[in-house]
Symmetry: none
Subunit: 120 residues, 4 copies
DNA sequence: GTGGTCTAGACCACT
DNA sequence: GTGGTCTAGACCACC
């Protein structure tokens, strides 16, 4: 995994895990890698991974069993919400930034299609 | 102008100026406010504005005449590029993040329309 | 390190680092001194060093790992370019100024040799 | 005349006049344009031209006759010196900067020849 | 500990 | 008055 420089690594790792959950690579109840394993795999400081898990727990996307590891939440609703909410956030932010460029909703869609065809 | 807390002020100011150029509020060759004026207007330290100008100059969006002030580039191409490139960047990033959520182009557009109608 | 008075300190520091890279004192991937260390070593304000790093990053000569430090680029090409380009710039500028004095290439070389022998 | 941004305009104008003297475009005793004329011709603030003349006088390259204008010095020696000294300055500076790049005198000459042939 | 941002205030050179 | 550089000192987020 390559990291972008202008967003905190721990956020990037969180996003990766979230998207794995959403796309189904991680199922509810699945065990995540251990802090140490993940740290080694990602060539990252264990503290950083630690923080990822802590934050995921705060958002109740994961939970921790002492001595057993960290697991994906078993609550279907939480996971469902995750997808909706994440998408909404991104969209809000995106639309705002496009409007600052004087682009209306139809302009945006036109550009999206162009982008998809590689003609942007 | 109100500042968001999670992005550097100087970036927000840069973005504002860029978008003013794109939307035509600022025309090529126009003089920007002086460092000190703008600092007062935005209730920000002059150094911060100074930094904005320096960065804009690095990106050749503006140029500076010693003792005269800072001006919007007179090169049409630069300005044209600005618009295209800025939009493209945002779109690329946005689409990538939506695809990570398993959303295809048509899903995205559907959601955009829903968002616009306030039904998302 | 002694600073010349008529060029910004931060430029002089940048040039020093660049030349260290070119001469091989700094190898690709090497960690630079931390902002604070270097500031102390050079008897300069940390902000000034900070600025140096930022500019070097803009020119993609260095990159930064959050919380880890600043490093020399690992891209061979960038480093290779650095050397060629820096020399070329200086030469272009120099030859231009000599031609303004009505000196042709052979005159220049003659003078260079004389200078080297201390007989200029 | 186009001005470079990173050197004071008045220096650039001075250099132009000096080089005109050296290359013979301006002969000893020749009258220079008036402050106002030159300012208009160069699209520059009259104060700036004023300063140019003052400095040239300080270096005794020009002299001023009240109410008559500014003239190139009539002292052959001064003019002769001008050329030698200017060349020496540039060379000293140039060689120093090339040595910082680990280039010896023969490397420099090689590169100069390459540059002249357009193969650098 | 590391870099990144910001404020405050000073001084300088240029126009 | 304009931009450019620098110092001093503070606070923050990240690793």
């Amino acid at each position: 995994m390559d990291f972008i420089n202008d967003t905190p690594i721990y956020i990037q790792i969180m996003d990766k895990i979230k998207s794995d959950i959403i796309t189904g690579k991680l199922q509810k109840g699945d065990k995540l890698m251990s802090t140490r394993e993940l740290a080694v795999a990602l060539k990252v400081n264990p503290n950083t991974v630690q923080r990822v898990f802590k934050e995921l727990e705060n958002e109740s996307i994961c939970f921790t069993k002492r001595g057993m590891g960290t697991f994906v939440s078993e609550d279907d609703q939480t996971i469902e919400q995750l997808k909706t909410q994440l998408a909404k956030e991104k969209i809000t932010q995106f639309v705002a930034s496009m409007k600052a460029l004087n682009l209306g909703i139809e302009d945006i869609i036109k550009k999206l299609r162009a982008y998809e065809e590689g003609t942007l």
